[in-house]
């Protein structure tokens, strides 16, 4: 399943939904949207986005976003227009009523401030004071902040307010805000430069100006140096630049009105080369980087608002259901065991141990007042066969056969089969003696439950009787009962 690419807008909607749910303090229940998100597959984020898009709230958020995008476009247009007009105004101030234009004043009015701001932007960009905050130039930041401020003031629908908050939140991540603010900053200055350029061209086309320069504090060399630096790239491009003769001829107090074309071309070129061009390029670059950051942005799925959705949308496993159904007629296996106390028995008492936990040194167990013959332990396949053949080989049937079972074992069909085989191998009654209950309890098992399970097994195997004992404790009621049933003095009983 290939995952469709998500747009920034989808993530914005999901963020807005999260903020609203955060505010409500609960997840909005929409099983239909959740089911569709689960079916959509993909990673957790994909499902979150899918769910948000299919919630009624998500659709309201989308329409709010639609409205906000429109409002933002108008606002952006207004800001850009303002800065264009500011550029026109700056040019107007330079090429005012006076017919003499001071070159230095013109340069600093048209370029000075924005070059200074560009330098500042570069410095901020390189040093990044206060990491994690967005620096995209002060103008851009101010514009962004005012957009958000305006958003909060003038947005009345709660959905729109959430969308604004969500976009503020997303702007903090992945340097997105930085690039958005940067593109705004550079865009504004580009428009300013464009305004200045067009207004200058207009003024220079329809009116005649004399270009002069003068300085009191700076030396003449400094002015020549500034001019040289500014005009070097123009010279490379083959554009007309003022030469040394023209520079000295244009000093205030010299004969005015020389080299009008060269000076005006120089001024216009400077605005183009140092204002419009770099700002436009930087604006475009920032826009590309902002788009890339927006494309790379992923939701922080660890946020409580999203984590809360994990058990609804995401699962580390998927049940495949029953692949091979249970055998028929095996349900309700455990039949009840009718506890019917037998009479004391006469004759030999024969003992068999089945899968006991106690080691072989504690076999056969001793119980005061009882004499028994052991046929051995039946833990292994060969041992079981030996025990059974020994039982069959007895010429005379014993009084009773006791199979000592361990309550620590879970009774299984193997044990049941062995008990049936013992029963079939002798004419004597066969009883199950359930021992080692203390060992089961030591590991936290439920003794009463286990006794019931064994009684069911014993009854299915067709044994005459089962009793729970503790062969290590002759005071245990079961042990006393056993002594009463098979003990030496039973004849008297």
């Amino acid at each position: 399943m290939t995952q469709p690419r998500h747009r920034f807008r989808d993530r914005l909607v999901a963020e807005a939904v999260r903020l609203e749910e955060d505010r409500l303090g609960r997840i909005l229940d929409d099983p239909a949207a959740e089911a569709r998100a689960r079916e959509a597959g993909g990673d957790f984020e994909h499902r979150i986005l899918y769910r948000a898009g299919h919630l009624a709230l998500g659709r309201r958020m989308e329409s709010a976003l639609e409205g906000l995008t429109q409002a933002r476009a108008w606002l952006l247009f207004a800001i850009l227009l303002l800065s264009f007009l500011a550029g026109v105004g700056a040019a107007g101030a330079v090429f005012g009523r006076e017919t003499t234009v001071n070159i230095l004043v013109a340069l600093s009015a048209l370029l000075g401030l924005q070059l200074l701001m560009l330098l500042f932007w570069c410095l901020l960009f390189l040093y990044r004071p206060g990491r994690g905050r967005n620096q995209g130039g002060m103008l851009g930041r101010a514009a962004l902040a005012s957009l958000h401020w305006l958003g909060r003031r003038f947005v009345h629908r709660p959905e729109s307010a959430r969308v604004v908050s969500a976009s503020v939140g997303l702007m903090r991540r992945q340097g997105l805000g930085r690039w958005v603010a940067s593109s705004l900053t550079h865009g504004l200055w580009a428009l300013f430069s464009l305004g200045a350029l067009l207004a200058s061209l207009f003024a220079l086309s329809v009116r005649q100006y004399d270009f002069v320069w003068g300085t009191t504090l700076l030396s003449e060399q400094t002015f020549v140096l500034i001019l040289g630096v500014l005009s070097a790239p123009m010279q490379e491009l083959g554009w007309p630049v003022p030469d040394a003769a023209l520079v000295s001829a244009s000093r205030i107090g010299m004969t005015g009105g020389v080299g009008r074309e060269v000076w005006s071309s120089f001024l216009v070129s400077a605005v183009l080369l140092y204002g419009l061009l770099p700002r436009t390029l930087l604006a475009l670059l920032s826009l590309v980087l902002a788009r890339r950051a927006a494309g790379k942005l992923r939701l922080d799925t660890g946020l409580p608002g999203y984590a809360r959705l994990s058990d609804r949308l995401d699962s580390p496993s998927r049940s495949m259901g029953v692949l091979d159904p249970r055998p028929r007629g095996q349900e309700g296996l455990s039949a009840g065991y009718r506890r019917q106390r037998p009479h004391p028995v006469a004759g030999d008492v024969v003992l068999i141990g089945l899968e006991l936990e106690r080691d072989i040194h504690h076999w056969p167990p001793r119980l005061a007042g009882v004499e028994w013959t052991t046929l051995g332990r039946a833990d292994e396949r060969t041992q079981r066969q030996d025990v059974l053949s020994a039982l069959r080989a007895r010429s005379e049937a014993p009084g009773v056969v006791l199979v000592v079972c361990s309550l620590a074992r879970t009774p299984d069909r193997g044990a049941e089969r062995f008990l049936s085989l013992v029963r079939e191998s002798t004419d004597a009654p066969v009883w199950a003696v359930l021992d080692e209950g203390t060992r089961l309890e030591a590991r936290g098992g439920d003794r009463a439950l286990r006794v019931r399970q064994w009684e069911a097994t014993v009854s299915r195997a067709g044994l005459a009787y089962a009793l729970e004992v503790d062969l290590e404790n002759s005071d245990h009621p079961g042990s006393r009962e056993l002594v009463g049933l098979v003990g030496q003095d039973r004849a008297r009983a």
Binding site: S317, L323, P327
Partner: protein, 465 residues
Amino acid sequence: MSRKLTIAVVGHTNTGKTSLLRTLSRDEHFGQVSDEAATTQQVEGIQLLLSDGKPVLTLLDTPGLEDPEGLLDALDDLSGPERFDGPERVRRFLASPDADTSYEQEAKVLRQMLASDAAIYVIDCREPVLGKYREELTILTYCAIPVLPVLNFVASPASREAEWREQLARVNLHAVVAFDTVVFDEGGERRLYEKLRTMLDAFDAPLARLIEDRRRQSEWLRRAAAEYLAELLIDTAAGVRVIAGETEPEALRQKILAHQEEVRAREQETVDALLRLFRFSHVHYQHHDLPLINGAWGMDLFNTDALKYYGIRLGGGAAAGAAAGATLDAATLGVTLGLGTLGGAALGALLGTSIPLRRRLWDRLHGASEWRVADDTLRLLALRQFSLVRALLRRGHAAQTPLASGSDPAARWARGPLPQTVREARLKPQWSRLNPEVFDPSRGDRQIAVQRLTEEILAEFVTPV
């Protein structure tokens, strides 16, 4: 690779096969679990998914082998004069009438083993190494697929791990994993997958992806849990009630109690969210009557015994609160006079809030007081949430016992100054959901504080690898 890795989980009856699957799949509702033979009598499958939703591994839960001795006899009887190898013998057995009658349950297991790429053999290592288990191991080798023995219940004092390892080595099973299905261990789970990886060359890539995915998942889980707690602590620390000066003592008491109730509700909300996050359903807990509500967990947040239980020395704020609240009864111990305990920070509290300064000064002049949850109550809240998260991190999805809470008196949070972010929250009513009239979730400083606190809390959940 088009074919998906399939692993049959086999073992004697009642050794915890279904429990293992529940734990590996994080699905506490999978199959049926009980302490008796043959709880599972059917074959049920579950797919483990990567976080992109793609299945990577299919685990098959099989019925227990109950009568390996009889089964081995049946398999050996098939030999006759011809010699068959293991898989052939198993195939012939499956075609025989025995497979549909007396050994139907075992036949299901063998059929799945033949169709699987590997088997996990689950051992209850509290059991002695009995003949029937050795016979089972022989039967498993007949199927000629890699077998990974998993020792369950290693954490039990009755564990006979060494005996089992020795026996497994005797039948050439040297790769063994200890993995308790009830006491979850992230490292154990990873070792289990690593072992499978070394056994199954053809599936190296998907298993590597699974290991990496589970690692990232657990990191995500820890972070998400830490962030829940950070939010809770910030909300509680920043929560404040301004109560007018001329309030009657009884009305004042009622207002403070109402505030305490809000804090408790906020904690319960976090507990519910944590349980869901770790995929332990709340219903399950209510059903089992967890002490989460009425035992140690239910210990009241504003109770002095609760403080002592978590090793928090009573002093400072709580004592001051008790002294200042001489006219109030013990129920108000957990809440202290805001300005009284904030001391020098009081001015900050006045300035750093969006409740209009004018109004607050007015309130102050007219004897209104600010009530906040005491430092020690915050400590208690933090400590018991930490121990809840730690318990959840160590809980297998097969666990049936109630959650027990443990106190950890050595914890950094029990004494010493509270973290900077929490102290800062004291002065920022806008950070708290408990102050809905000024709460602003989109504030950058709150987000930064939550992030910082999350990192600090995360350090509490780091487990040794």
